[in-house]
């Protein structure tokens, strides 16, 4: 993807590169956390009758993760297509 991945692009110093990498990782962590919180709320019965996830909850979780991922991609495409609206 990057032509010269053994050296930094000109004008970007090391601290900046580390800062960007950190921001990128924070983004992924936040994506995962929001997805997990959202799917727990949508799929898991709040009465907590038992500590195990039942079959219905498990398949709901799988589908929820899949759909969340698709929504993430959909909005990502929309944002990169319309870079700088106005």
């Amino acid at each position: 993807m990057a032509a010269n991945n053994s050296s930094l692009p000109p004008g970007v110093d090391k601290d900046q590169a580390f800062g960007m990498a950190e921001t990128e990782m924070e983004y992924r962590v936040e994506l995962f956390n929001r997805l997990a919180q959202t799917c727990f709320t949508k799929c898991v019965d709040k009465r907590y009758k038992e500590g195990e996830l039942n079959m219905g909850e498990n398949s709901c979780i799988d589908r929820c993760v899949s759909k969340y991922w698709q929504v993430n991609n959909l909005i990502g495409q929309m944002l990169s297509a319309g870079q700088r609206p106005m």
Partner: protein, 93 residues
Amino acid sequence: MDKSMLAGLDGLPEEDKMRMATMIEQLQLRDSLRMYNSLVERCFNDCVDNFSRKSLQKQEESCVMRCAEKFLKHSMRVGMRFAELNQGAATSD
């Protein structure tokens, strides 16, 4: 709150202005990624409620698109109003 925080950095050497610019850039990148995450969460929450299938249905997809479009337009409008109020507050200082 205290507008003088930033003022304290005026008149500093070129090197510090560069450092400032880098910091602002990082904050903007971080903020836009957070906005993206919260937009996804909101539109998912409002548009997707049926988990009998694994893939997004057509009407869910279009709901998500309209939700995101509305949110972006909303953000731009809020940004304009916010800037006006900030300016008003600055001149009335």
